[in-house]
Symmetry: C2
Subunit: 723 residues, 2 copies
């Protein structure tokens, strides 16, 4: 095997043959892909590389779509809140929505499929009391109660594919036609989709890998009346809705969904919402359908002798790779965008595919590749965070996207990617399939469990948001840490208990969200199982507002475990004596200062049995508390950084009562990490920073030595098990 070649995918474009050859050679690429806006010409397709070709299933064929506008994709939307000033209320329900994207569905009887809700009482308004003016897109409601607020939940057709819409508007594509998304649940579309693929496969013999971008239903992305993003949920099932789906759902599940089950008071069941039974049923229903239909396409691809790869994004709804129907699709590969360690693991850990591929940053677009900017910096940062995760579980391939001709103009960048691809292959060939040393097994506990593996607390995929970064840091830290990570749901614990081998459980999130758990913490089964588990030696780490549900005098339902609770203002009259932090603590031994991100207000210690590690502004931000043989650790927040990664790892070892084992395969410099692979007796000592670092390295049997690593260096060493 040529270790200088392979496992790398190169984007290319027309009229770029020689440079493509050169970069294939330098980066060791064995696959070439097209991108949004680029096409490969025939000469490139003849190169010694697999050819990936982007394929759109349910858009980009307006010739067909325009003939079947009744098969357009649909959405349920909620109007703004409207205050009734008198007994009649007229609502401009499309107000704030983008008419180029969305069109009210008057084909299906609004009286049957729409809902007017009095949001002051939560009651549905009888449809006899309202009428629609279709010319003006208004609804006129009679006999409303003055000063109550009303919303309309209504069905629309989505007449513009959201990804194309985004690119179209962002790049000023002017009068370029709008891609109309069609719904493969509908008869003509379903037929068309299959025939189209069969024909396409015939027309594209050079394609080795069909890169589905993606399947049927786009994540929810709705624009406003000014053509700007209004609502975006990377996990959103909004665009999978249709009258046909609603009716099929009723057939399958034995009950009818209300519009409210989808619009969800305007929250649209984002992954931050504790999912309702109806929404879980609906997801299951869509996933099953998507898997069944996707399998048909994959089979067609396979029959043509090609591979089927799915891009993890865009029209990915219903394909959840950690869901229970994913295996049935039979995909060969999944490719996704790598924003850091957590997103890398989200891709690398996907089961039931032969290989995974990470598309690294930066994308070769003019927003990064412009004169005066150094794209190496972004590439280096991206690589360092991803490399931590790769050292735990590598994706099988890495690749890039965009205009290769643009990247080619930055020779330093080309040089840097050459080192990255070599380094990736070295790691891959060394550790692929090898179990790394793992000090602890950690479970992330939330409403979603396995389904949202490495996908918690995300809004628009991997973007920074004020209210999530203090939690996302947990995943990012864990993605490259020497621990095994499992995602479990409240239902898992309720039905199956805490898995035997778990050392530490983490519950992180804002009160009431799916990630903290909301009303799940009213389950006495959940509470008793976790209390028993901690008492018998488990470690429970709560971050932000863990286990929060105000009930019977407690806000944190595991306050007795954590040793802290949040003061909501009701127990101000009870003296809070415990305001002194300990001088030293195992958890904070490497912490010079603390960064809890957005932090959390008004956390207090219940008794002097709580070890307060950080106390400021009259609040606890970091603490630990013994509960039987186990421990509860509280953290106000954990944005990602080298310091916080170390803090979390220490907190986990402490919670698990395994402080002694912390020094196995350990480095004292927090900018470095060491990963050991006992099966092959090799270790990788890595410098995660862009500066030179010196560190003591502790091996697994008590030896230690000092090493100095160049910026970003990874150093492989063979070790023996004898001291």
């Amino acid at each position: 095997m040529d270790k200088k070649k392979g496992h790398v995918t190169l984007p290319s474009e027309a009229n770029f043959l020689n440079e493509t050859k050169e970069l294939m050679e330098r980066w060791g690429a064995d696959a070439i892909r097209d991108s949004d806006g680029t096409k490969l010409d025939n000469e490139i397709k003849q190169l010694d590389a697999k050819i990936y070709t982007t394929y759109f299933v349910a858009r980009g064929h307006n010739d067909f779509a325009e003939k079947h506008m009744e098969e357009c994709q649909q959405l349920y939307l909620m109007s703004q809140f409207n205050t009734a000033l008198e007994e009649t209320l007229e609502i401009d329900f499309m107000k704030g929505y983008f008419e180029e994207q969305l069109k009210p569905d008057y084909i299906h009887d609004p009286k049957k499929y729409w809902e007017v809700i009095d949001r002051t009482t939560g009651k549905v308004v009888d449809y006899h009391f309202w009428e629609i003016n279709q010319e003006l897109n208004r609804i006129i409601i009679n006999k409303v109660i003055p000063w109550h607020e009303y919303t309309v939940s209504f069905l629309v057709y989505a007449i513009w594919d959201p990804t194309q819409m985004y690119n179209h508007i962002t790049n000023n594509w002017g009068d370029k036609p709008h891609d109309i998304p069609f719904d493969v649940r509908q008869p003509y579309s379903n037929e068309y989709m299959k025939n189209l693929l069969i024909q396409w496969l015939k027309d594209n013999p050079e394609t080795d890998v069909v890169r589905f971008t993606t399947l049927f239903y786009h994540f929810t992305l709705v624009f406003n009346n000014l053509g700007k993003e209004k609502f975006v949920d990377w996990f959103g099932y909004g665009a999978s809705v249709s009258v046909a789906a609603l009716e099929a759902f009723e057939q399958k599940k034995g009950y009818r969904l209300r519009p409210e089950d989808i619009v969800d008071k305007g929250y649209y069941n984002t992954s931050f919402r504790v999912p309702s039974k109806a929404f879980l049923d609906y997801m299951d229903f869509v996933q099953k359908f998507v898997a069944k239909e996707a399998k048909k396409l994959v089979d067609i691809v396979h029959e043509s002798g090609k591979e089927a790869m799915m891009f993890l994004g865009d029209n990915w709804i219903g394909t959840e790779p950690y869901g229970q129907y994913f295996e049935e699709i039979g995909l060969d590969a999944v490719v996704g965008s790598v924003g850091g360690g957590a997103t890398l693991r989200m891709i690398a850990d996907i089961p039931h595919v032969r290989y995974t591929e990470g598309r690294f940053l930066p994308y070769f677009f003019p927003d990064t590749f412009y004169e005066g900017n150094n794209p190496v910096i972004e590439a280096n940062e991206n690589w360092l965070t991803a490399r931590r995760a790769i050292l735990r579980n590598p994706v099988d391939r890495i690749g890039y996207g965009g205009y290769l001709s643009l990247a080619y103009k930055f020779p330093e960048f080309v040089d840097y990617i050459e080192t990255v691809t070599d380094e990736f292959r070295e790691i891959y060939h060394t550790i692929k399939g090898i179990q790394p040393y793992t000090g602890l097994k950690v479970a992330i506990l939330n409403s979603w469990g396995k389904l949202r593996t490495w996908q918690t607390h995300m809004v628009a995929h991997a973007l920074w948001y004020k209210q999530i970064y203090s939690y996302l840091g947990v995943l990012e830290s864990l993605s490259g840490a020497a621990v095994e990570v499992e995602f479990i749901s409240f239902d898992d614990v309720i039905h199956h208990g805490v898995p035997e081998d778990i050392d530490v459980m983490i519950n992180a999130g804002d009160a009431g969200t799916a990630f903290s758990g909301g009303e799940n913490w009213m389950s006495e089964v959940l509470l008793t199982k976790i209390r028993a588990w901690v008492y018998n030696g488990g470690g429970f780490i709560g971050i932000g507002e863990p286990t929060a549900y105000h009930h019977e005098g407690r806000y944190f339902q595991l306050a007795q475990v954590l040793g802290v609770d949040k003061e909501l203002g009701f127990s101000l009259s009870t003296d809070k004596y415990f305001t002194t932090s300990v001088d030293h603590h195992f958890i904070s031994e490497d912490s010079k200062e603390f960064d809890f991100g957005e932090g959390m207000k008004n956390i207090f210690a219940l008794s002097d049995e709580t070890e307060i590690i950080e106390f400021s502004n009259g609040e606890v931000h970091l603490s630990s508390h013994d509960f039987g043989k186990g421990r509860g650790v509280y953290l106000a927040g954990l944005p990602y950084s080298a310091e916080n990664t170390r803090l979390l790892i220490r907190a986990m070892y402490y919670a698990a009562h395994k402080e002694d084992e912390f020094y196995k395969w350990h480095v004292d410099n927090i900018q470095c990490e060491v990963h050991a692979y006992p099966e092959i007796q090799k270790m990788a000592i890595v410098n995660n920073s862009m500066q030179e670092q010196t560190t003591l390295v502790y091996d697994g049997i008590g030896n230690r030595k000092e090493v100095t690593l160049a910026p970003s260096e990874i150093r492989w060493e063979v070790y023996s098990n004898e001291s």
Copy 2:
């Protein structure tokens, strides 16, 4: 009338005759009082002054109390939370309580009066399943559910008066006997109390004013096992409970109270809790009883030709001066401690008494009067904040407390108080009974309304607490502002609507508290009445988490009025476009920088119709929003300061759409204020700071002029209504 004398009460003590005479003369005192720890001797009692004598109704007579320990005062307490590890659970229910203060009541059958609660489910444990070990003060519960948490609600006798206990422990009184508080609801105590007073009045002929300190039931003050404060609630009804009271309650109200109605999950119905129906009934029941019994004592005092004055504090529970039974007591006067403007108004505004008296700070105790400290500073600060309020509505008298001999050692202090007493009398004689100019009428809206006039957001009376100072500032600012203030409850609005003459309504507090309102905001009547009122021109100011109750897609139920809501994490997927603050705004015109105290996180504007006045850290902290002809103003918090007082006043004028009237009787320097008294055509221009200030003064008809005021100066001017 000698304007250099009167309206001042001097504390005195034994063997201090000549100095007392001198200070009486210099401060113009016309009354002399004893204090805790001081007694007046006969010569002093012969001076030309009214004599106030402190009188304790229900403690200080252990000779009686010891014979009737079954008539001791009682409390319901809740044990700590106890996690069941197996099917039997033993609870040391007195753990953490102070055995010198509290003794379990085994006289009355615990099976009838105690409650064991499973706090994991909220269910009461059948009393057949538990037994008490009286020797060890333990309860043994059988058939508990492992890993559920249990508490015991139990009755105790309070065997030590809390005020005496506090003084005893603080001052190391050693083996001085503990005052046993007896319950005047019990037959012997009731009889004793009356006879004692009759005898005492005979024994104290020189007393002119019986200064009740206080009546029957102390506010809740419970100490911990280390003899330190554990729970303190200045409004707490804890010590009014007894088996006799519970049985009488059942007779009167037709239903039985549960222990849980009193212990309230360990929150003990503090004034931060939205009051339950049962607790409101209980308060009413106690107030009625207290008023009836207090009236008997007052009648006895009056029959002896003396006056009855009540100290507003200590055993004041049930006497609420703004409650519906207070008038019946027939008191001549109320005296209370003045911590600033709000507490001054709390005293000065009391109805149904002939006069009120404020006891000013500092108290003449060694904690302030020690060598090297200058007590003038504290006195000056106290006076400046109180004076703002006095200029709105003066108390009838001011006074001091403690050791006069101590104060006498600080000649500068004696001089300063001489100026204060003169200044007080000047204000009093000028404006008493005169209506000051008032630009707006403001209603503070919360669960308590009138009952807690000037008493919102207080924990231990007037102390600083992290979670209240950002709200207390509102009251302190209003106490001296040229506005009329009314306190109204949600029930008032529900049953009677918003009072006609209200310009601005303020709702301030943390979510779920009695001050924000919690589930009251589920009342559609409340919501519709306020929405209609604002729409028709009212001004609504929300501070902190106003109108908060998560329901139907909104956290702030008046979000449509305020134009802002709080992001709880469920609508992160909805774009928040509105992040730009306006360049200038009427409300912030005098603000150089902002101080929102603890502030509030994650507030966002609903639309571009919200005028964002301050935006930082990705959040709105100050905004305004038109709603019909009215306005909603949002403020993240308002600690007291001259800057924030101005900000609030501007916000109120803006909310009320009366910006033009803001410049009537106005000063441009925020350290100054002007109060006008149209009936007498006088104005007081005051410097609220300890530095010289220059300001423009605007009168009521468009004239303005510049004045320079000495530190703390008050300048009286006559004005005419002609420009």
